[in-house]
Amino acid sequence: MTVMTKMKGFAAAAGLAATLLTGGAAQALAEEVTLTMAVPDWPPTRIMKKFFDEQYKPKSGNTVKLDVDFIPWGDFYTRVNASLTSGEQKYNFVVSDSQWLGAFVEGGYFRKVNDLLDADPEFKAVMESMHPNPRDAYSTYPHKTPNFYGFPQFPDVLVNFARSDILCHEEEQKNFQAKYNKKLPCTGEELDAMTWDDFRNVGEFFRRKKGEMLAGKPADDDFYGIAYQAGKVYDFSSMQINGFIWQMGGNVWDETQAPKGQAEGVVNSPEAVAAFEKYLSMLEFMPPVAKTGTMDIFKTDELFREGKVAMNINWIGLGEASLDPKTSKVSDKLVFGQMPGTMGADGKMVRWSNIGGQPFVLTTWTTDAQIKEAVEFVKWWLSPDIQHQFAASGGQSAIKSVYEDPKYVTYRPWNRAWAPQLDWQKDVWHVPQFYELLTQQQDQFDLAITGKQDAKTTLDNIAKFQQNLLTEAGLIQ
C-alpha cells in the first residue's frame, strides 16, 4: 500500500465519519412522529407496511414510524368500533370499510379532510385524478357530496376466478357445447362475456360426484362448478346480492335520495325479488357448505384454492393466495374475468356490482404534527411510482393514469378485469345506521340462503325493518 492510497483511504474514512456526524446531528434535531393505524390483516395492508418500512423517506426529515395493528377481517369492525367508541383515542389512521363513514363521522371520530386538500393543490390534484366511483364510495359523506373524509388505501372489485385446466379441456368443451349449444367459456374474454345464466350452466354442468370423470380424469373428490359468497357474517352475502339486484333493475334503499327515497316498495320491488330469486337459484350448484350459511368470502376462496370448484366470484384482495403454489393447489391453472353480467333489453351487458376496498381515514384527535406526516405519507402512497409497485405486488390503483398504463394489465392476471369494472361500481349506505341495516339484512338473507324463507318474504321483512329504522332516524319522511 502506497502512502498516497493510505491518505485517500484516510480522507474517505474522515469524510464518512463527518457525514455520519452531521447526519446524526440533523437526526437529533428532527422529531419522531408515530402514526398508529388500525388495518384489516390481509395482503393489501401487509404490502403497504412492507413498502413503508423499506422505502418511505419522509420529506420533512422527521423520523416517522408507522405502528400498524393488523386485525383479522372477521373482528375488524367490532375491534375498531370498540376502540373508537370507548374514547381511547388510540388510532390516528383507520383503514375503514367504506360504509362505516356515516357512523364514525357522526360520532365525531373521523376527520374531514377538505381543509388539507384545499391547502395543498398537488394533493387535491391526486384526489381528482381518481375514478369517481371509488372516490365517492371511499371519501364522501353524505354520499356523493363534496365533503371528503378519506383516501383510497386499496380499491377492490369482484372478479371471476376460474380454472383453465377444467374449463378449456377438450372433452368438457365438446360436452358443454352439445348440452347448452354454447361454447364453454375458457379465455378471459369469454369469461367477460358471461351472463349469470351462463354461470348457472357452468354450475349445473360441472357438478360431479367423486370418481366421475372430470377433465379426462376421475374426480378425486366431489366437484362443483361455481361458488360465490353466501355467508351470514358481516356483509358476506349482501355484497353479491346487491349486484344481482342492481343488474336486474331493482335497487336498495338509496341514501342519495334521502329523505324522499323509500325502503318499502323499493327494497322489495318485483325486480329485486326476481334478482334475489336468481341469486338463490344458483346455490344448489355450489359446494354443500352453501346451505349452512357459513360460505363467506374466505370459505369460497379456500374451496377454490383446494380445487373443489371451477369458478368463484371473489374480491381481488383475496387473490394473492390463489396464485401462490404454497397456499393453492390451482396456482398454475388460473384465468380471470369480469364478474358475470345481465343482458339488458338493448342487447348491452349490464354489470352493476358492489364496490369493495377501503379508504384510509384520519381521526379527529390526530395532532397537527401527525397530520402533516400523515398527509405526506398518503401523498407518497398515492404517487404513481408507489401505486405501480403496489399493483405489481397484488394491489390495485384507482388513479386513472396508473390503471390506464398499458403495463398495468401485465402485473396480475386479474388486472384485465379492473378498469372495465370500475365504471360499474356502486356502494350502499354510508349512514350511521349502516350496521343495524346490515346485520338485519344479513340475518334475513341467511334465512333465505338456508332455505327457511322465500325471496319475497325476505325482502318484505328487510323493507319493513329499514322503513321503520330509517323513518325513526329521520332519513325517510
Binding site: 368500533n81 351470514k232 354443500p288 349452512t292 343495524e436 338456508t450
Partner: protein
Amino acid sequence: MSMTATAAPPALFSVTLDNWKLAILVGLVVSVVAVLALPAGIAFWIVGAMAAMIAAAFVVNAYRRKYYGGLLVAPAIAVLFVMNIFPLLWSLGLSFFAYQSNQQSIRFIGLNNYIKVLTNEIAAPANWDALINTAMFVVLTVTAQMIVGFLLAMLFAKQFPLRKYLLILVLTPMMLSVVASGVFFTYYYDPTFGILSYVVNSITGGQFILMSSKVGAVTGIVFADAWMWSPFVMLLVLAGLVSVPKYLYEAAAIDRVSKWRQFWTITFPYIRGLLMLALLFRTIEAFKLADLVILLTKGGNDTMTISYHLIRIANEQNKTSEGAALSYLMLFMVIVLTNLYLYIANRRSQGA
C-alpha cells in the same frame, strides 16, 4: 376495658382524617353541587374523588380503631367496587337514557328502553326468540353434561390400568381454549372437508350436511359444549365419590345390600351437594352461551342466543342503553333462577 386502647370517635364537625361521618356529609354536598353546576365530564371526576375521600376516611378510621378484619378485606372490596359494582350501577343508570356509544347526545327517557326491549314489534320478537333458544340450550347442554360427566366419574372412581393417563386425556377438552375447540368442530362438521360428512356419506351415499337444519345445528353446538364441559362435571363428582368412606361400603357388603341400594343410600348423599354445585355452575355458564354459537353458526339456523344477541346490540350496533336494559332483565332472570335453585337445594338437604 380493652376499648381504652382505641381512640374515642371524633365529633361530627372535627376535621380529622378518621371522621368518616363528616367525609360522607362533605362528599354528598360537594357531589350534588358538582353534578348540578358543572359539566358532566368534570362532575364525574369530582364525584369519583369524593367517593375515594370517603373510602379513605373509612380506612383511617378502621386503622385507628384497630378494625383489622375490615382493613384486610378493604382491598378486595375496593377491587369489587371498581370492577363490578360501579359498572353495574353505571349501566343501570344508562338503561334509563337514550344513549348510543357512537353518538354524543344523551337524553333521559325513563323506562322506554325496557318497554322497547319487551314490547317493540321489531325488537321484542328477536329478544324472545333468542331467550327461548337460550333456555333450550341451557336444558340440553346441562343435561348432556350432567349425564356424561356423572357416568365418566363413576368410571374413573374405579381403579383400572392406564386410569391416570386416560383421566388426563378426558380432562384435555376443558383445558383447550374455546376458540380452538370451536374451530376444530367447524372443520369436523364441514360438509366438504369434514370427517363427519365424509363418514356418513360413505355409509348412506347421500349428501349429509349437519349444520343445514336447526336440529343439526343445535345438536352440533350441544355436542361441542358437552365435549368441552362434561369433564368439569366429572371432576366435581369424582371429588365427591373419592370422599365416601370405604367402611360404609364394607358394612353394606356384610349386610348384603344390593349395589343399587348402596348407590342411593351411601354414594348419592355424599355427591349430591357437588352435583348441585356442578348443576349451578353449568346452568349459569350455559345461560351465557355465545362463543360456540359465534364460532359454529354465527347465530344462523335459528340458534341465536340471548348473550350473542346482546353482544350484537350493545357492542356492534352501539345501542348501549338498549343493551343495558336487556342485560338488566337478563341479570334479574339469572338471579331469580339461581336463588330458586339454591332454595330448593337447601330445603332438600335439610329434609334429608
